[in-house]
């Protein structure tokens, strides 16, 4: 991982769910609470060219994560980010409460709206207006900073093999294994191991 802030044994990787990103990271950031672990950096300038993120954003498994201020314009020097589909809500798994929103963008090279779509994808997470967790009124005073200012972004190249996860073992039974299982009494057949 190349980051000394996280001292975990080998095999631990940063693979957050949408819910974790919104609740544990983005919400704490917007509430001015320290994030734990504090691995996602703040990139003020936004939007970035995707290839500029290397070395600046937190990278794990070919994906980059960073915070930024929500910007109205998503045009960079060489292209622009264009939404792929409508914004989706992010729910908690336990209570099915809406805690944030996620928007997918694809990077296009050139000038809008005639750009050529490239393989870079960005997920941008934002909090709902008025705070994510419906805090009790007495806490409202702390929310002076507009919670929708901050967004959390994940950028990756969709052409990169989505590897790293599962360690190459895969979570599917290969078809060959299926065929062998279908044959009777595999245990009885001595195959050299």
């Amino acid at each position: 991982m190349g980051d000394n802030k996280v001292n975990l044994p080998p095999g631990f990787r940063f693979y957050p769910t949408d819910e974790e990103l919104v609740v544990h990271f983005l919400h704490r950031k917007a509430s001015l609470l320290p994030c734990h672990p504090d691995v996602i950096p703040d990139l003020e300038l936004y939007p970035y060219e995707p290839w500029e993120l290397q070395g600046k954003a937190w990278c794990e498994g070919s994906k980059w994560y960073f915070y930024s201020r929500k910007a109205s314009s998503r045009t960079t020097r060489s292209g622009y980010w264009h939404p792929v589909r409508p914004e989706e809500p992010v729910f908690t798994s336990s209570s099915c409460r809406e805690v944030g929103f996620k928007q997918c963008y694809a990077f296009h090279s050139g000038e809008s709206p005639h750009g050529i779509r490239m393989s870079w994808i960005m997920h941008e997470y934002r909090l709902p207006v008025g705070g994510a967790s419906g805090r009790s009124p007495r806490r409202k005073g702390l929310m002076k900073i507009d919670p929708t200012t901050w967004v959390l972004c994940r950028v990756y190249d969709s052409e990169d093999e989505d590897g790293g996860g599962g360690g190459g073992g895969g979570v599917e039974l290969s078809c060959l294994d299926e065929v062998f299982l279908s044959l009777d009494d595999m245990d009885e057949i001595s195959l050299p191991n």
């Binding site: 802030k5 996280v6 001292n7 975990l8 044994p9 080998p10 095999g11 631990f12 990787r13 940063f14 693979y15 957050p16 769910t17 949408d18 974790e20 990103l21 544990h24 990271f25 734990h36 672990p37 691995v39 498994g61 792929v84 589909r85 989706e88 996620k102 997918c104 994808i121 997920h123 994940r154 990756y156 969709s158 989505d162 790293g164 996860g165 599962g166 360690g167 190459g168 073992g169 979570v171 599917e172 039974l173 290969s174 078809c175 060959l176 294994d177 299926e178 065929v179 062998f180 299982l181 279908s182 044959l183 009777d184 009494d185 595999m186 245990d187 001595s190 195959l191 050299p192 191991n193």
Partner: protein, 407 residues
Amino acid sequence: MSRGMNLSINGQSQVPPGFRFHPTEEELLHYYLRKKVACEKIDLDVIREVDLNKLEPWDIQEMCRIGSTPQTDWYFFSHKDRKYPTGTRMNRATTAGFWKATGRDKIIRSGSRRIGLRKTLVFYKGRAPHGQKSDWIMHEYRLDDGAASNNEIIGVCPAGDAMSEEGWVVCRVFKKKNYVKTLDSPQSPSGSLAEARLHSLSGGNSAILNQILSYMGRTCESKSDLLDKLNVVVSDGANLNKLSYQTKDNLSSRFTHLPRLGSSLGPNDHSNIKPSCYQYQPFDDVFLRADESPAFQVNQHGMIRDWATLDRLVASQLNGQAEVSLQKQQSYFVDDPSMSTSLPPHDDEKVPFPSQKRLTRPESHHDRDHDHQQNLHMYGCDNDFWGITTSTSPSSLSDGPLRYLSA
């Protein structure tokens, strides 16, 4: 609160949010299993020991939880014991069922160096040999770098032994994914809607292939059991692509060598019709087209109910060369060494085919139709198997491809 990246605080494991345990195979073998076998203390108790004979797969989830983050796979160490002192079979039975190993072990490499082997097992509920297959899969990793003896790996650990079949293994248990990947899983970004759709299509249409195979199987008496069982093979449509690339290396010694049915290179390319020549077509075309074909009809259970429907399905694939893949798929499952078939050179003999009108295509496709018809006869042990070759005389068939069959 301390910096708090330690996994165990007061015996309770704490994983920082967003992090999950997803080791590579190299990490599992080279770091964790090595340490375990050498009796080195593995810090932080990430992977626990489990007695496989005492835990069902669903219990392993609880036992092997790491942190509070949702998990899709679970890891543990286990010590393999032989079932009988002199046998080679491992004792993997639990109260509710048993683990059954699949085929050959896969070699795990670190760079170019072999470091271990991986065995895949599936959990069956009930008792052998009548167990009911479940979706629980286990990958069992053991150290084996080939040339070096196990003693070197084990070191001075008194519990180690030199037998490669016994000893510590590290295992990953997970539930098989069937069709659609969840869209909000951490590893598959939501941008994979198209991919999910493909999987769902494959899954839905693999049922069609099931039916085709089961119909084929029923007319070949000795094969019916095999083919029925193999219907479960195609339940995971997303993986059918892999069969085509693996079968060549692994099944060629067990199954009939069949020539490539060379429609992708053109109908007259006879030079490619050789027993040892394999080229595979992806199955995606089959499944996607079957769904979109207007001629295709299934009843509410997704079953093909009559030959006409089956014929239409197959006919609808002709444009996409997909029927060639289909035929090849079937050929691998016909495990009869005596049935050494070879496609005769493409000659002018036209086998009458009542539905030929429907199959008539522009000239470039015509010969492919012929291949298709011949293939249909090859795989039908029963002359009237398809119920549509009523005008075919037995004598013409005996001169045709069927003469090569010895069913």
